[in-house]
Symmetry: C2
Subunit: 194 residues, 2 copies
């Protein structure tokens, strides 16, 4: 009984990997289930057994790809952690799978709801921890609205990407985090090192 | 010679008006050129003479609708002007024509480029004036990066709208502007009146 299950899990991760790889060279609308099947050496029916539509497949590939990359180091400063988080986010957004998932989010309401529930919301729970540790360490004020602070950090990145078709660079991210920290910081020197 | 020209201009504004009105009760995908023609009492060919596709028509209707609504009063404080600007933006985004234009922006690259060039970029030139007057009046610091400040104000609104499917309310907007002002303000009392 365990053998086919293992094989299933291996197949699944190979299919998701093939999807991510293919999207590095082609865009979402050109992606076909046939190409994913060929690249992961499974039959099309195997793919359709797990994913009804390529949008579902792309979404799951995105979640698989981003599951482990947003780790942060709470011994570092709030400033450093947010710069790192936003750099990781921009690298995700400019990757093929990142662009593809935003295309799907724009086109399909159901996937937009999944993006919010399965990606953005859990990520926000995690990033609020960075703020809480900042408060606990005395780096930032204890009366600030965490939701608004996160919107001020993440909103501009998505705004630039979606509406300006631009990926913010490191200099932009450092300026943004510095500016946000100015409004919530207690000790200027701790985050304005450079 | 002037009579047909006037008629053309009147027709054009009636067509744009009919588009805006129709989008209050139906969404973008249900909008048809037939319905716009019927409501504005012109022939379909008249509409197609000016707009090749309904996405172009919707974009022009959006520009017509928003042309005059973003006026600001430079005798008021920076805080008050930005709260007013963001309230106006949210009322635009939640209107039928606002939702429609964002649908089009998500679907069509060409319209996304027009949205950036013909709407966002000129709006940014205008809103930078609010910041410059704030600097001149001594309300805000003279060394801040205007682009980043505007991204911190406008980014969260679009972020909430596009990815969270939520329209920020007045309380959110006031908290956001207050928080942004904390990082750039010189005189707390001038914008933290309430």
């Amino acid at each position: 009984m365990t053998v086919p299950k293992k094989k299933g899990a291996r197949n699944k991760s190979e299919i998701l990997g093939a999807t991510i790889e293919l999207l590095e060279s082609i865009n979402y609308s050109s992606l076909t289930i046939e190409a994913v099947a060929a690249r992961s050496s499974v039959g099309k029916t195997t793919i359709y057994r797990w994913w009804k539509h390529k949008s579902d497949l792309v979404f799951d590939a995105f979640i698989a790809k981003t599951e482990t990359i947003y780790e942060f180091d709470l011994t570092k400063s709030t400033y450093e952690n947010f710069v790192q988080q936003l750099l990781t986010l921009t690298s995700v957004l400019k990757s093929g799978i990142g662009r593809a998932v935003l295309t799907v989010v724009a086109e399909e309401r159901e996937i937009a709801a999944k993006f919010l529930n399965d990606y953005l919301t859990p990520r926000r729970v995690e990033t609020k921890k960075i703020l809480q540790v900042g408060v606990d360490k005395g780096e930032i004020q204890d009366n600030c609205d965490f939701g608004i602070i996160l919107d001020m950090l993440y909103g501009p990145i998505y705004f630039k990407f979606i509406l300006f078709n631009r990926i913010p660079d490191q200099a932009y991210i450092e300026s943004l985090v510095t500016q946000v920290m100015k409004g919530i910081g207690l000790n200027n020197s701790s985050y304005l090192e450079e």
